[in-house]
């Protein structure tokens, strides 16, 4: 297990949220959608042309941009 950014996960890969470097309202939005340290996330897919990621936390599916996903650290298998 090692820490990687959420944006660095491979499609279909899962891991556990280790740290969230997000601030302010973005952090609160993340938390209200179920992003918490210790929760399991899975990268479902990525849109074309460097578009957003679809990530599943628990039973919730969200989309977020790669640059925003980079602020979330994940424990994952290398």
């Amino acid at each position: 297990m090692s820490m990687v950014r959420l944006s660095e996960l491979a499609i279909g890969q899962q891991g556990i949220i280790g740290d969230m470097d997000a601030e302010g309202q973005f952090r609160q939005r993340l938390q209200s959608l179920g992003f918490r340290i210790g929760k399991e996330v899975r990268l479902i897919r990525q849109a074309l042309f460097g578009g957003p990621l679809q990530v599943r936390v628990g039973s919730v599916n969200v989309m977020l941009r790669r640059c925003d996903a980079a602020s979330i650290q994940i424990w994952a298998e290398r």
Partner: protein
């Protein structure tokens, strides 16, 4: 082994504290009574191993958010030897109520005031003795970020643990039982009194997403879906529209014609040739508008809109916008006003203004009826859909071009986070209600503007008394001749210039205005338009209608939502100027090419 539960509100640095206290030895574990996983770690405190569990951040021990329920259920089902409460020292006034709530549980507690360094910089001073007495627990000051005060905190935790005998059972707090009962009651009440749209099962949503969000097929599929929506609207709407026209003509010929000998000439003219013909021409488009809104409601309630945001975000990001901006443009297909209000979800002002600047270019249903009327009148039945499609393309291009031009003036960097909800099957009743709501809005707005508009136009074309109707001496003719130098280069004559003038108020008036100016309605009006304009003029006219300011309601909304006269002014001037330039470029180059 004794167990410490780490609690605190969100944004108190609780997780940072946990990481620093436990090193990197954390592991995920299942706990009795709760469904989510929690992080825990074993640490050496003094001579004993102790387990530390990181509970989710929460605001209220008796609250009903998911996190609050998790905390409650954890405390009820797991023996705890020590509560370690993390308090954000810079917001202590808001956080003490939670500390007092926890005190009532009667468990040994240590209060950790985190961010003590920041609080000090802000000039906040604490009387530790008074706090300790008030909270009935020792108080420690730390900075989890920099590691200050950790040895004291560890020592305090150790001492409190040592003082108390190990707990073997979870607490039995009667107030928790009351909370659970309340929750169960609420659930029952919802089940009895609320009907929710059926959510498709998880696996099915996943399978649909695999197709709909396919990296290559996703976007083509979206446009295909849009194409079928329009196709369905016209296929179903065409016969309904014919029926409506027949009904209106029959009433005109069989009923209203008998009024002609009875009423004074001017009153008959105003009521029948003004109000009735004007309203009737617009009314014949109501079936298409109704179907269109039903289709939009179906898409909106299904959960597909957020998928469109997902597909389009990469493109929109290049325009300085985000995927939601594209969804707003689509909402604008119905009516620009709700789309403008929809931008309230954007927190960055620049992003919001840029999105509000492009929404008025979205081809709304009011403009759609003008285009359907003119394309049917001037183009063959095979050409008409292509022309209409071209206008939608122009609508997108002007919106995107505007964003490109203005994005550097309105830069933004707002994180984008949207839930992709499970697909829902909207109930029949829900769709009908939504559709009816939209139609009602359209009709009440349209009837108000149209009646005022057609009466005003009737007066303009008939005053001063005795002039040829709509002729050069009438008020309309005079206004038209003022505008003529400006509009002749784009192929628009005096009478159509007056129509454009009223179109500024609302596009719903445009058709009614043409009916009144030419004193005709329905098919007769179509035939006349085909004689008076060639296709180049008609397309130039439609381009102008598409691009210039949609209506006064939109202007008022731009003003009230942006709270800026300058922004509203820029939006109006830009769209008017762009409309003229594009119509001019099209008209003159088409003429140059010999059309």
């Amino acid at each position: 082994m004794k167990r410490i539960a780490l609690l605190g509100m969100p944004n108190t640095g609780k997780s940072t504290f946990f990481n620093r206290l436990t090193g990197a030895s954390a592991r995920i574990g299942n706990w009795p009574g709760i469904t989510v996983d929690l992080l825990s770690a074993r640490i050496l405190l003094g001579a004993d191993m102790v387990e530390v569990v990181d509970l989710p951040g929460f605001y209220d021990l008796h609250g009903f958010s998911e996190d609050e329920q998790v905390v409650r259920q954890f405390l009820q089902n797991n023996p705890i030897d020590l509560l370690c409460l993390i308090i954000n020292a810079t917001q202590i006034d808001q956080q003490l109520p939670l500390a007092l709530q926890l005190r009532r549980l009667g468990l040994p507690t240590v209060a950790i005031l985190n961010m003590a360094d920041e609080a000090e910089q802000m000039g906040i001073r604490f009387d530790a003795a008074v706090l300790t007495a008030g909270l009935d627990s020792p108080v420690c000051f730390v900075s989890a970020k920099y590691g200050h005060g950790f040895s004291e905190a560890r020592e305090t935790l150790r001492q409190v643990l040592e003082r108390n005998p190990p707990t073997n059972a979870a607490i039995q707090h009667t107030e928790f039982a009351a909370d659970e009962a309340l929750l169960a009651e609420a659930e029952k009440l919802v089940a009895r009194s609320v009907s929710m749209p059926r959510v498709l099962e998880h696996g099915l949503t996943e399978r649909i997403d695999r197709i709909v969000l396919h990296p290559i097929l996703g976007i083509p599929l979206f446009f295909l879906a849009l194409f079928f929506l329009f196709q369905a609207v016209y296929t179903l709407g065409g016969p309904l529209q014919d029926g409506m026209t027949w009904l209106l003509t029959t009433v005109h010929d069989q009923v209203l014609a008998h009024l002609q000998p009875i009423l004074p000439g001017w009153l008959y003219g105003l009521l029948v040739e003004g109000v009735y013909d004007g309203l009737g021409t617009v009314a014949s488009f109501v079936p298409i508008i109704v179907l269109f809104f039903l289709g939009m409601a179906l898409i909106e309630d299904s959960g597909y809109l957020s998928r469109i945001a997902f597909l389009m975000d990469a493109l929109m990001a290049k325009l300085g916008l985000d995927g939601r901006g594209f969804v707003m443009l689509m909402m604008g297909f119905g009516c620009n006003v709700p789309a403008l209000l929809g931008t309230r979800v954007m927190r960055s002002r620049s992003l919001r203004l840029l999105t509000m600047l492009i929404i008025p270019f979205s081809l709304c249903s009011a403009r759609l009826q003008v285009f359907v009327f003119l394309t049917t009148a001037l183009f063959s039945s095979t050409q008409a859909p292509v022309v209409l499609f071209a206008l939608y393309v122009v609508s997108f291009l002007t919106a995107f071009g505007t964003a490109l031009l203005f994005k550097n003036r309105l830069p933004s960097r707002e994180p984008l986070l949207i839930e992709l909800p499970p697909y829902r099957l909207p109930t029949f009743k829900q769709v009908i209600l939504r559709g009816w709501h939209e139609v009602h809005h359209f009709l009440s707005r349209a009837s108000r503007f149209i009646i005022m508009g057609v009466v005003a136009i009737w007066l303009l074309t008939h005053l001063p008394p005795g002039v040829a109707v709509g002729g050069p001496q009438s008020l309309a003719g005079i206004f038209g001749s003022w505008l003529e130098p400006l509009l002749r280069p784009i192929g628009i004559d005096q009478q159509m210039a007056v129509v454009l003038l009223f179109g500024f108020v609302a596009k719903e008036i445009v058709l009614g205005a043409m009916a009144v100016i030419y004193g005709l309605e329905g098919d007769a009006l179509s035939h006349l338009m085909a004689q008076r304009m060639d296709w180049v003029q008609a397309f130039s006219f439609m381009l102008f209608i598409l691009i210039y300011t949609p209506c006064l309601s939109t202007v008022a909304t731009l003003r009230s939502e942006s709270k800026s006269l300058v922004f509203t002014g820029v939006s109006i001037v830009w769209s008017l100027g762009l409309a003229w330039v594009i119509s001019f470029a099209f008209y003159q180059s088409a003429r140059l090419l010999g059309y």
